[in-house]
Symmetry: C2
Subunit: 191 residues, 2 copies
């Protein structure tokens, strides 16, 4: 069952979910194992009808294994309310803390027609198919995904735009600096 | 001559200038031609003693030509006060508007020992050497740079941390959404 605030975003607008450079949660599953980690190094790579993203996944991580084995992953945008969860799943490895998702209260769900785990409470979700690029993955830990589904919490993102100023402060996205310190997405300026 | 607020940042802390995902200005020069463009799709790729970044540079851009010919570029962080400049140099091409730097009031300088142009008024600068990866450049417009010098405006970044809350609001960094609308970097939350 999908959560209450989970509204489809057109693929050609999905880049706008990540254009402002927030820290993301990376999720994947394979063979009945689900994991979630945090990544500050995630970025839009392309837009249009075949939007793409990049994300850096370090070699020792369980999530990376699941991405490589399944060929799928999701990037999602945690909120200010999820700062502790985000730092937690980004610091603990499932290899050392097998119950890390329970420890940080991470709940996942799936969208219709997909078995990629998505994290509850996020405000944007991008389901991705891995575009295999062995050299990038081995040399730079750099993974490329084609976005095949996108959704947002319509309280903060609708008509292809964020409108954080009209919603509860706790729903703002976050940008990791270091050591669990995040900068919160602020107001708007028109250039 | 370097501007007043231009303080070296240790290479192993330089990733923190971009960890929060701001929109950047990309600058390069070759054969006496300098250009500057904006890029929302720029990201940290690695940290440590040989930090790296990625940036997406579209094929028709003059700046991309200068990067490919010179093998060097800089990423720098424009401020809220520079939103119009940033949108302007990101929209106009020097191929169509030869005086676009003058049009938007862009002034550049160089750091000692380098001829990579840096943009005045920014609050963070990363001078980079291109790491040639032809497949990425041709297929994805994706460029990798090794950071060889880093500086920040010490009013907002010192001791490896941002502290926007203690400085004038106009010095905050910005994150492009679309069409010249930027989200401004906000306050802090500890996870």
């Amino acid at each position: 069952m999908t959560p209450q605030h989970f509204t489809p975003v057109a693929l050609d607008k999905s880049y706008r979910l990540m254009n402002h450079g927030p820290t993301v949660l990376v999720s994947a599953q394979h063979g009945g194992t689900t994991n979630v980690m945090a990544a500050a190094w995630a970025c839009v790579l392309d837009y249009g009808q075949t939007p793409k993203v990049t994300v850096v996944l370090d070699k020792p991580t369980r999530t990376r294994e699941l991405v490589e084995r399944s060929g799928y992953f999701a990037l999602q945008l945690p909120t200010k309310a999820m700062a502790t969860l985000t730092f937690g799943v980004g610091t603990d490895s499932a290899k050392d803390v097998p119950d890390k998702l329970a420890k940080y209260g991470v709940k996942t769900f799936t969208a219709s027609g997909s078995d990629v785990p998505l994290v509850e409470g996020s405000v944007g979700w991008l389901a991705c198919r891995l575009v295999p690029e062995s050299h990038n993955q081995q040399t730079y830990d750099l993974f490329i995904g084609e976005v095949i589904g996108a959704w947002a919490d319509e309280r903060v993102f609708s008509d292809g735009r964020w409108h954080f100023d009209d919603a509860p402060d706790e729903l703002r996205t976050i940008h990791h600096v270091a050591g669990g310190q995040f900068l919160v997405t602020g107001g708007t300026v028109q250039g």
